[in-house]
Symmetry: C2
Subunit: 304 residues, 2 copies
Amino acid sequence: MLKVVLLGTGGMMPLPDRALASAMLEANGRRLLIDCGEGTQVRIRACGMGFKAIDGVLITHFHGDHVSGLPGLLMSMGNQGREAPLLIAGPPGLVHVVNSLRVIAPELPFEIMFNEIDPASPPPFACAGLEIAPFALRHGMPCLGYRITLNRPGKFLPEQARANGVPLRLWSVLQKQPSAEWEGVNYTREMVLTPPRRGIRVTYATDTRPTDSLLSAAEGCDLLIAEAMFGDPDKLERARESGHMMMTEAARIARDAGAERLWFTHYSPAMPEPGLWLDAARAIFPAAEPGEDGMQIDLPYVEE
Amino acid sequence: MLKVVLLGTGGMMPLPDRALASAMLEANGRRLLIDCGEGTQVRIRACGMGFKAIDGVLITHFHGDHVSGLPGLLMSMGNQGREAPLLIAGPPGLVHVVNSLRVIAPELPFEIMFNEIDPASPPPFACAGLEIAPFALRHGMPCLGYRITLNRPGKFLPEQARANGVPLRLWSVLQKQPSAEWEGVNYTREMVLTPPRRGIRVTYATDTRPTDSLLSAAEGCDLLIAEAMFGDPDKLERARESGHMMMTEAARIARDAGAERLWFTHYSPAMPEPGLWLDAARAIFPAAEPGEDGMQIDLPYVEE
């Protein structure tokens, strides 16, 4: 099961009733944070979560509303005595930005491991037990989306283990590790398990115009969380100029990618009621939902 | 009249029900902000105030909880199209800290005027129509308190103007400017006004141990806003080590300085109910009030 919590859904500036856009993913007790604007640490607490289980923070880009809360979060983690290293991943310039912001958090009792990701050919990596595939977005500055997968191993089949002559004592071992040796013979996971099953896939994309990379990263995902800065069709030109998406554009991505669910986030501060513009988006993708601060879902494994 | 709004009352880290300590002062439609932690801009909005009338920001020191919200506030001011310059005052290092934080707010449509204040001999200055007298505190890093005065001119006395031979046409002019000339003769404000009357004085002090400088800056003030990180008498040693005050220590300052009112602020996150420790403080200074987020007062001129 993969839990997804929308900590905030606002773009540009935090409002009293709408925090800056960010999300927490949780699987097997480990957490991964996406973006950390001013107030995100408070939203984490307000949503009943602590900081200790956060293994990594993925930054989409360096506009202030996506990263302004990072020094505060680092300080609070430090004040709580964190010792475990924290991974921070983001576009090129990450180390400079984080270290500049750390002018007010110079001493931390834990290590930061940086992953500066080249948007041109971003390699996947692992954090919090999740597989993370970054992809380039189009926003007027280097910006990354993230496709996050909770992988699911194959199913254990005793008859397959027996047919492959795997000793009984290795049956459980090979469900936990890729290979094991017994009496000079090497046995592999594939001898006891079916091929890996479909995992759970979440694609997160702020801030961006519609792109092929997003379409491809959203393909067949269980949940697409996509920015929808504007709803009003009159704002299309403004969306194009500022590198943002309309709700209907995000809906088309979800439809064309065959996504299961679509949540909008990162609303313009000038759009107090995103629900007003929902009909046009649902005409394209009926399962579209306007994200709200604190909205969450437990995504289950799906049998194919 | 001088309005004072406690935007937040928390120390160290923002909590869902307690924002980081900061205060807004307002007189004649102009505003002055003291400290700007993560979330302060949201608290300004939540308290029904905008950013446009803010002429200056006073920073007490560079621990993150007092300054982490500055880049976000600057961005939001910029997004609203501010063009008027903004004064930012604080201890030495101010320019470096603010410019480092501005890595995420590099372009602003308004000018920042810095006032790096030497704690050893801090000169008074003016902002938002208020007189600001900084003073050194003791907190393990350079830290400033601020005594803020809304000055009140003398009273206009027609009989005095007449006795000094001031022409009638200059009576109202000299209530607005220090001097004026008519038919080759120079007339001064003092010819029509009594000496300046008692103004309204607010003293703000976070973070600090009790100091003589604070006692002196709080002398006869209408309102002392003082940090009270701890209430529990068992925490005295901790307060000494960390450069903070007990409620009772702040109460003694208020009593010895002859302050009219005392509001506590900047509570430890480990102290959810500051009111629990109020009795001991009120035994020393009966008018002590535990500050709360959003608490405000309109301080009137007092006739002497």
